[in-house]
Symmetry: C3
Subunit: 340 residues, 3 copies
C-alpha cells in the first residue's frame, strides 16, 4: 500500500522540506533504507547516513540543519522518534490481516462460552466451562484448559498451552509456545531417596495488559495463585515458578528465572538470564542486571544491582576495578617483601 510523502507528513503533523509528491510503502532504518521507504533521524550519531541514504523521505527534527548535500525529502517534526513510532503503529494497523471467525476443525466443549468477534484458529481447543471475552484472537494449535477465562481483546498466538483453572486478563498477548499453569516443582524427599510430589492445586492469574514471551513458562501455585500483575511484560524463555508474584509494570528479560514464592514489587526490572531465589521479595523499582543472582530480599526501593551474588551497582563497579588491579597489588606486595 503506497502513500505519498505529503500524506505521511499530514499523519504525523510535520512539514515537507523537498518534493512531497513521491510515494513510500514501508519503513526502514536510515543506514539500510532503499528507494520507496521512509526512515527517521533522531540520534545525531546517525546524521552522516542522511547524506547517503536511499530513503525517499527522512523524518528529522524541526531545526535540523544539513551540512552536506542529500537527495532525500525531509519531513520536519517536533520529535522524530515519537513520530516514527506513530507511523510504525499506523503501518502495523494498515498491514495487519484481521483474523476473524471460527476455523475448522477446532474443538469447543459444549459448555465453552465465546464472546463477540472472536477468532478461533484451526486445531485450537477450548475445554469445559471456558469463557472467552470479546475480540479475543486464539491462533491455531492452542490449548485452553477447563474453566480457563480469557478477557477482552487478548491475543493468544499459535501453540500456547493454558492449563485448567487459570485466568488471563484483557488486552494481554501470549506468544507462541508459552505455557501457563504447569505444575510447580514441589516434592517432599522420602527416606528411600525418592521424591513424593506435593499436589499443585492452585492456578495462575494473569491480570490486564500483560505480555508473555515465546516459550515462557508460568507454573501454577501449590495452593492459591501465581500472579502476574497488570502491565507486566515478560520476554521469551522466562521461568516463573509456583506462587510467585510478578509486580505491576515489571519488565523481565529473556531467560530470567524467578524461583518459587518470590514476590516482586511494582516497576521492577530483571535483566536477561538473571536468577531470583525463592521466598524473597524485591522492593518497588528494583533493577537487577543481566546474569545477576539475587540470594535475598531487597527492601530499599529503586536500587540497581549487578553480579552473582548481587552487589549495589557502585560497589560492583568498584569491585571490578579492584579485581582488574590485583596483579598490580601482588607486585606491590613483592616489592615490600624485597625491602623488608
Amino acid at each position: 500500500m503506497e502513500i505519498s510523502i505529503e500524506q505521511v507528513a499530514q499523519l504525523i503533523e510535520g512539514t515537507v522540506d523537498g518534493d512531497g509528491s513521491g510515494t513510500v510503502d514501508r519503513l526502514e532504518k536510515i543506514e539500510e533504507a532503499t528507494q520507496g521507504s521512509i526512515a527517521f533521524l533522531a540520534n545525531p550519531k546517525y546524521t552522516p547516513h542522511l547524506y547517503s541514504t536511499q530513503a525517499s523521505a527522512v523524518i528529522v527534527k524541526h531545526d535540523f540543519e544539513a551540512e552536506k548535500d542529500y537527495t532525500t525529502t525531509l519531513i520536519r517534526v517536533e520529535d522524530p522518534y515519537s513520530s516514527f513510532a506513530k507511523l510504525l503503529e499506523a503501518y502495523q494497523q494498515m498491514t495487519a490481516v484481521e483474523k476473524k471467525g471460527i476455523e475448522n476443525p477446532s474443538f469447543q466443549s459444549e459448555s465453552a462460552q465465546i464472546g463477540e468477534n472472536v477468532y478461533l484458529g484451526a486445531f485450537s481447543y477450548l475445554g469445559e466451562h471456558v469463557k472467552i471475552g470479546n475480540n479475543v484472537k486464539i491462533y491455531p494449535n492452542s490449548h485452553i484448559g477447563d474453566n480457563v477465562e480469557i478477557g477482552d481483546n487478548t491475543i493468544i498466538f499459535a501453540g500456547v498451552k493454558i492449563y485448567a483453572n487459570c485466568k488471563v486478563g484483557a488486552h494481554c498477548i501470549l506468544h507462541s509456545g508459552a505455557v501457563v499453569g504447569s505444575y510447580g516443582f514441589g516434592y517432599a524427599p522420602q527416606e528411600d531417596g525418592t521424591f513424593k510430589a506435593i499436589p499443585q492445586t492452585g492456578n495462575v492469574i494473569i491480570e490486564d495488559n500483560v505480555d508473555i514471551g515465546a516459550n515462557t513458562t508460568v507454573d501454577c501455585a501449590t495452593m492459591g495463585s501465581t500472579i502476574i500483575r497488570s502491565g507486566a511484560k515478560l520476554d521469551n524463555l522466562v521461568q516463573v515458578a509456583h506462587n510467585v508474584e510478578i509486580g505491576k509494570n515489571n519488565a523481565i528479560a529473556s531467560q530470567a528465572g524467578i524461583s518459587g514464592s518470590a514476590k516482586l514489587g511494582a516497576n521492577v526490572q530483571v535483566g536477561g538470564q538473571a536468577g531470583i531465589t525463592g521466598h524473597l521479595s524485591l522492593a518497588d523499582r528494583t533493577i537487577i542486571g543481566p546474569q545477576a543472582g539475587v540470594p535475598k530480599t531487597i527492601s530499599e526501593e529503586g536500587k540497581v544491582w549487578f553480579g552473582s551474588p548481587i552487589m549495589e551497582h557502585r560497589e560492583f563497579l568498584k569491585s571490578s576495578i579492584i579485581l582488574r588491579n590485583l596483579p598490580n597489588l601482588i607486585q606491590r606486595v613483592k616489592d615490600l617483601e624485597k625491602k623488608s
Copy 2:
C-alpha cells in the same frame, strides 16, 4: 464441594477444638485465608496470623497453646504439615476432572496400539507402531512419533512432542511443550568453515516415575540412548543434551543445562540455571548450586558445590569473604608502603 470441619478432622485423624459444624470448600494459606477455607500452622513464624485469620478452620500441632483470642476453629494433629499435604492430595483427587476416551479429531496410525482406559485429546497424533499403556492420558495437540512406547498411568500434557523411537516409562508426567528426542547438537567442522551434521540415530529412554517440566528439551543420543533414570524430576526449560544420563532420583531445577555425554549419579541435585559441561560424571548425592558451572568430573560422593567454576561450599564461602575484604587488604598494603 463443601465438607464440614468435623469431616476434615476425621480425614486427617485430628481433634476439633471449637465449632466443628461449619463447612469449608478450599485450602488457603493462613496469611491470606478467607471464610470457608481451611489453613494450617506448622512454622511458628506464622503464629501471629492465627489470631487474625479469616479461615474457618486451622490445622495446628496437638500441643499448640494460643496466647491471644482467635475466631477460627482449630483441628489439632500430630504433624500439621503432613496432615495438610494429605488434605491437598485428597482435594486434588476430589476436584480433578477425570479425562477419558478418544476426542475427535485425533490421529491414530493403523499400527498404533492403545491400552485400556486411555484419554487421547483432540488434535493429538499417534505415529506408526506406537504403543500406549493402560490409563495413559494424552492431552490435546501432542505428537507421539513412530515406534514410541508409553508406559501405564503416564500423563502427557498438551503440546508435548516426542520424536520417533523414544520410550517413556510408567507413572511419568510430561508437561506442556516438553520435547523428547530432538537431534543432538553434533557437527563435524569442515575445512571451508561449514558444519556437517553427525547423524543422530539414537533415542531417549525415560524410565518410571519421571517428571519432565514445561518446555524442557531432551535430545536423542548420537547412537544408543539418552537416559533419564527412574524417579528423576526435571523442572521447566531444562536442557538435556545427547547421550546424557540423568541418574535415579535426580532433581534438576529450572533452566539448568546438562551438556553432551555427561553422566549424573543417583540422587544428584542441580540448581537453577547451573551448567554441566559434557563428557564428565557427577558422583552420587552431589549437590550443585544455582548458576554454578561444573567444568570437570566430581568423584567424591555427597559434596555441595557453588560458583562458576565450582568450588566446594566451604571454600566458596571463604572466597566470598576474601573478595569482600579486598578493599581492606589494599589499605593495609598502602599502610605498609607508607611505613617502609
Copy 3:
C-alpha cells in the same frame, strides 16, 4: 535390517581381519556394544574395551596392533571415526521412514502453494499465501503463518510455530517447539510507569542450511529483518532477540541468549548459557565460552573469551590463578605487618 560384516567393510572401503560372514544390524559404542552390533575404536583411551567388547565387529585404524586376545572381527580402515560417521549416515538413511503426502485433517489456505513431494502432517496449518518448496517435510501440529516461504528440502518438526511474513531457506531443520517471528521485546516506558509496546513490523529471514534447536525462539525485527545467515547452527532453548544478525556458519550452544540488534560475524561460536548484550558486534571467528557475559563489541577476529564480563582466555586463566592464591597473598601481607 541385517547386513554382513563383509558388506560393511565394502561400504567403508576397509579390509576384514577375522570372520566376515557374521551379520550386524545396529551401531553401538565399543564400551556398551552387544552381539550383532558394530562399533569403532578411534581414541586410544578406549583400546582396553576392544579386548572385552561383545560387538560383532569393530572398525580400527589400518595399523592397529592388538596386545591381547579378542573375540570380535576387525575392519581396518584409514580413519575409523570418518568411516563410522559414514556408516552412521548410511544407517540413518536406511532406517529413516520416508514421510510423504498430506495427512488429514490438515489446514491449507486456498492461496497456499505447495511444491512437489511434500509431507504435511496432520493438524498442521498453512496460512494465506504460504509458499512451500519441493521435498519439504512439515510434521504434525506445526503452524506456518501467512506469507511464510519455506525453501526446498527443509524439515519442520512437530509443533514448530512460524509467524507471518518470515522466510526459511532450503536444507534447513527446525526442531520441535521452535518459535520463529514472535514480537521483539521493545517497549517505550511511559510517565505513569506503564510500558507502551513498540510495534514490531519486521520479520525473520533464515537462510539456507540452518538448524534451529528445540524450543529455541527467534524474534522478528522491529522493522527490517532478524537474520540467521546460511550454515548457522542453533542448539535448543536459545534466545535470538529482534534485529539480531547471526553470522554465516555460527554455532550457538544451548540456552545462550543474543540481545537485540547484536551482530555476529562469520564462524562465531557461542557457548551454552552465554549472554550477548544488545547493539554490539562480534568479529569473525570469535569464540565465547559457556556462561560468559559479553558487554561490548569485539573487533579483533578469532579471539577466545571467557567469564562474565568476558576476558581474553589467557587473561581469564591468569585471573583464576590469582583468585585461587588470594589466601596466600593475605598471609604474606600479615607477615609483612608483623615485621614492620
